[in-house]
Amino acid sequence: MNARLLILLLWLPVQALAQGFAGLGSEDDSFARPSRDTVLQFPADHGAHPAFRIEWWYLTANLTGPDGTPYGLQWTLFRSALAPGDGPGWASPQLWMGHAAVTTPQAHFVAERLARGGIGQAGVTATPFAAWIDDWQMAGPDFDTLRLAASGPDFAYDVALVATGPLVLHGQQGYSVKSAAGQASHYYSQPFYQVSGSLTLPEGPVAVTGTAWLDREWSSQPLAQDQRGWDWFSLSFDSGDKLMGFVLRGERNFTAATWITADGQTTAYPDGAFAAEPLARQTVSGREVPVEWRVRLPGRGIDVTVKALNPQAWMATSVPYWEGPVTISGSSGGVGYLEMTGYD
């Protein structure tokens, strides 16, 4: 999952708390920059990269209850640095932000957490793997076997993740270009998690099973000045194949995509190969947001309709955006997740 936060940050609300995640409108030479030559190393790269300005651990899951009801689940940990590196205690320049959500066909539950680095309230370690903020955590003996938990005022979840496929590197061996001008990030995913566990909703606990997709990305660079918003798709087809694709909306749209076969083989597609156009909009939290899309990747014969499970999946967090589960119909069936930013 891509430069989404970078984009979000261009529409920062004025609130003080969001400001820690701001400052990305300009380049800062003191931070490390993504390099085409970097070879990702695991498990070390599962951990945090404090030399870079921004980073995230972004998990979304499509789940099903015992009665067949579809659910969506999100667990995200963002890291944003005021300065590169780390410091002792409160002096650490690292700031952390967590977002968690559960989406049902009728409801959408959201919670947010903020924390300073350096005191142990939030952080990520690579071995054994643990990412946490407050009582929320994604942790396990290694990256393939994780326990995921979060809770908000009106919901909670606690699920187990088991990876059934390899890690997937996007772009060029994990070097993912974000604009025609060359902005880029390091980007890899684990889209092959099997999920089982339970959701706690106002109606009571629900046992769920399904699949999850974890995105890892870090960078220091802002996006191009004209880029105003972002539509990002992670789609899992019934065939077992998967597609990651995004449209960066600007004066000229920039798109990119990765085709992932059921056994984890990847093909990266350059700008223009992937296309997504809105079919229907709905008023969500006072603004018009597309909730139905036509998504095409002609190189793979993909021409599908992607529809929000719950059009009102608005993340009313300090940096607001739309994030929710989708269903796929058309040339192939399946499920997935959609994120949309910059709809003011």
């Binding site: 003080a16 701001a22 009582d135």
Partner: protein, 795 residues
């Protein structure tokens, strides 16, 4: 036509500039005192709100360590990781400034003028040398911190806010936290507090800041005085407007006869009044600003001394009070002028347009009945009323009832004097005085209110002072009081003092909620100092022996009254430790409840708390030597030692200041009343010629007439003064027995001060004589031709 009518209306003020002055001055003075008081209250409330907003007081639950302890930073992280949505706060003194460290990412948002003002740059707040937010005057007092100072007027006075990391460093308290704010939104799953941090306690939100509640009564007091002053001002305005409209009856008739529609005439007069009210209101608000600016430092000092409440000594021009001042001026004018306008509306076009000011008031009976009813209401409220507001309602009913009762009472007294008088001139004097009563009634009522307020408040203040001085002698029995900064220094103090002092009495306390109220729990050593000096309001026999056997506790009067605790009722001072009340003692000047237990019991209940303050009993001549020994051998700075005399002077100074404000308002009120009397006499003087001329024609000299006029003013003031005394004493009783009990939780014995009352009476007579002097002098020098002219222009 409007211009012609307006010109005619305004010409009245040209011809009677004194009336115009009276009207404007009365309204401006009343508005000034009202808006001045409101400005002070608004400033204080803004300060409390800022403090409460910064601290999350009132609307948030809090987690604190057991008394005497601090929260380790690791415990905070453990709580966060157990699901607790809490935010840390550290607090301490940096120099004289209260420094508050907050954590902006977890701090609650949207609670008033919050910790971080809009536009704050989180990056700058958290990185580099950090930032310190405070008012400009606070920043100036702050020692150099290396952080960037940011001027923030929204922050409470004498308070600086910074990041918790910087605050820990500046206060030299690494990894320590004083309290955790519990945010309203908590996650579904959360481990119990007792499991994560068994030595921490959560307290429910207080519902409004403590300071605001404590000082509520003080501000209500000020408001009551502001209203009283405004009422006195209104008396003046009512008099001036009434007189002006009476004198303009002929003009109105003429204008109507010339074809001016009544409706337009009334409209223009209302407009004229509104314009005058606006001018006077603006003047009053400006004056009020000056009054408030002059009094605010004293009020701020009082609030700090009495309640520990920080109030800015600088006045801001807040819309809330200057708008309310203008509104009061307009509303007051409407009330004062409404009746006069209505009388004009009802005036038949062809009726005699003669001024009726000298017709004896026919509604005296109605007024007497209304006065009686109000006094009954006051009595009923005194007997059955509950709460501070009922207390003030009672005061209001008492004062207004008393004021309304004045004219009928005076009329009765004068009638009786007239019946007793033998000589014709004496009979005329009494009859003429009675005749003038309606014209002077308002001024006399103002005088009555001012004098009664003066008697009442000075009685309360003096009673308080007597009681409090005696109380200080009991309570401050130790000759020297010493504070230590840490337990090591406390041990050093004890080591030094034990050889030289007759006794070392540790003073150890914790702040706790007792019977649902904020209170302090003290541990007291069993010592003759207490047995010999303390006096109880109520106690069981041999109370000190029972206390020494740990059979119960002592509580102060405030706690007893507020929590409804009597002897033998049980009080829970610590979880699972409830003991009966053995005695109740007076504790004047303390805003919160207090519980005293024995030292041993205290140590059992609060083992973490070690005494850091001590009272030393020694020969008063040895105080200096002891201070030197403590300074040299225990490293106690002079600022941490205070001798009995100094502490008494300090405490008394706090209370002197408390009433400086009241006394100042009192004097102003009396001055306004004297002014009202002068204005009434001046305006009446010219109109009384038709009454005086025949008496002069019968052979009474002008000088004699003038002397009689002077005597009349003094007699009326004297009678008013005599009637003001019982009213003032009733007011004092109400303040001591009702308002004080409700507001502060203690009841003071009432003492009488005849000398003060006599002096006040003398002042009132002097004021009346001074007010009458000028009109009388004018009369004595009046050319006989003017007196003769009365007969020539016989109406």
């Amino acid at each position: 036509m409007n211009r012609v009518i307006l010109a005619a209306l305004l010409s009245h003020w040209w011809r009677n500039p004194l009336q115009l002055f009276t009207l404007l001055a009365g309204l401006a003075l009343g508005t000034a005192l009202w808006s001045g008081v409101q400005a002070i209250n608004a400033e204080a409330r803004a300060s409390y709100d800022a403090a409460a907003g910064a601290l999350g007081e009132g609307n948030l639950a809090q987690i604190t360590a057991l008394p005497g302890g601090v929260i380790a930073q690791q415990t905070y992280v453990a709580l966060r990781r157990a699901g607790w949505n809490v935010s840390p706060v550290i607090e301490g003194k940096l120099g004289a400034v209260r420094l508050i460290g907050i954590e902006p990412l977890t701090a609650p948002r949207g609670t008033g003028p919050g910790p971080l003002p809009d536009g704050a740059d989180l990056g700058a707040f958290l990185s580099g040398n950090g930032q310190v937010f405070a008012r400009a005057e606070t920043l100036a007092r702050l020692p150099d911190t290396g952080a960037e100072p940011v001027v923030t007027p929204e922050i409470a006075p004498n308070t600086a806010i910074t990041d918790i990391g910087l605050a820990q460093r500046l206060l030299n308290r690494p990894d320590q936290i004083d309290r955790l704010l519990v945010l309203p939104d908590q996650p579904l799953t959360r481990r119990p507090l007792a499991e994560v941090a068994p030595d921490l306690v959560e307290t429910a939100p207080q519902g409004g800041s403590d300071v605001a509640r404590l000082t509520d009564s003080f501000h209500l007091n000020l408001t009551a005085f502001g209203l009283l002053s405004f009422a006195v001002g209104l008396f003046i305005v009512h008099g001036a407007i009434g007189l002006a409209f009476e004198q303009r009856r002929t003009m109105v008739r003429t204008l109507r006869a010339l074809g001016a529609p009544l409706r337009r005439l009334i409209g223009l007069m209302a407009l004229e009044l509104a314009a005058l009210a606006l001018v006077a209101g603006l003047l009053g608000v400006a004056l009020g600003y000056l009054v408030a600016a002059a009094l605010l430092p004293d009020v701020a000092a009082t609030l700090r001394g009495l309640y520990g409440a920080e109030v800015s000594g600088q006045l801001a021009l807040r819309p809330v009070w200057w708008l309310s001042g203008l509104a009061m001026a307009l509303a007051g004018t409407a009330v004062a002028g409404g009746g006069a306008l209505w009388a004009l509306v009802r005036m038949p076009l062809l009726a005699s347009a003669q001024p009726r000011a000298w017709a004896m008031a026919r509604h005296q009976r109605g007024q007497a009945l209304l006065a009686l009813a109000l006094l009954c209401v006051a009595a009923a409220l005194a007997l059955w009323g509950q709460g501070l507001r009922a207390g003030f309602a009672m005061l209001g009913a008492l004062l207004i009832g008393g004021a309304l009762a004045l004219p009928p009472l005076l009329a009765g007294l004068l009638r009786r004097a007239e019946a007793r008088a033998q000589a014709p001139l004496a009979q005329w004097f009494w009859a003429d005085t009675r005749q003038q009563l309606p014209g002077l009634a308002l001024a006399l009522m103002a005088l009555l209110l001012a004098m009664a307020a003066n008697v009442g408040v000075s009685t309360m203040v003096s009673s308080f002072r007597l009681t409090f001085t005696g109380f200080l002698d009991q309570r401050l029995a130790s000759e020297l009081y010493v504070s230590a900064t840490d337990p090591a220094q406390a041990r050093a103090i004890v080591a030094v003092a034990e050889g030289q002092a007759q006794a070392v009495l540790p003073i150890v306390l914790v702040e706790r909620t007792v019977a649902g109220l904020p209170a302090e729990v003290f541990g007291a050593r069993d010592h003759a100092t207490y047995r010999e000096n303390w006096r109880f309001l109520q106690a069981i026999p041999d109370v000190w022996d029972a206390l020494a056997r740990a059979e119960g506790v002592l509580i102060n009067e405030q706690l007893s009254r507020r929590a409804g605790l009597g002897l033998d009722d049980t009080v829970e001072i610590a979880p699972g430790l409830a003991l009966p009340v053995l005695g109740i003692y007076g504790d004047y000047g303390n805003p919160v409840g207090q519980v005293i237990v024995t030292e041993a019991l205290f140590q059992r209940a609060f083992p973490q708390v070690t005494p850091l303050r001590f009272g030393l009993r020694l020969d008063p001549a040895q105080v200096g030597a002891m201070q030197a020994a403590l300074r040299d051998r225990a490293g106690v700075p002079d600022t941490a030692m205070i001798d009995q005399a100094a502490i008494k002077a300090l405490s008394l100074a706090v209370f002197e200041r408390t009433f400086t404000v009241t006394a100042a308002l009192n004097v102003l009120t009396l001055a306004v009343a004297g002014f009202a009397l002068l204005m009434s006499l001046l305006t009446l003087a010219a109109m009384r010629l038709p009454q005086l001329a025949p008496v002069w024609a019968l052979g009474v000299s002008r000088r004699r007439l003038a002397a009689l006029d002077l005597a009349r003013a003094v007699v009326l003031a004297a009678l008013t003064g005599v009637l003001a005394l019982p009213l003032g004493l009733a007011l004092a009783w109400a303040l001591l027995a009702v308002v004080n009990v409700e507001a502060f939780g203690w009841r003071l014995p009432m003492y009488l001060f005849p000398g003060d009352y006599l002096r006040l009476g003398g002042l009132a007579l002097l004021a009346a004589a001074l007010a009458a002097l000028w009109p009388a002098w004018q009369l004595s020098r009046m050319p006989p031709a003017r007196l003769l002219g009365v007969f020539r222009h016989e109406r």
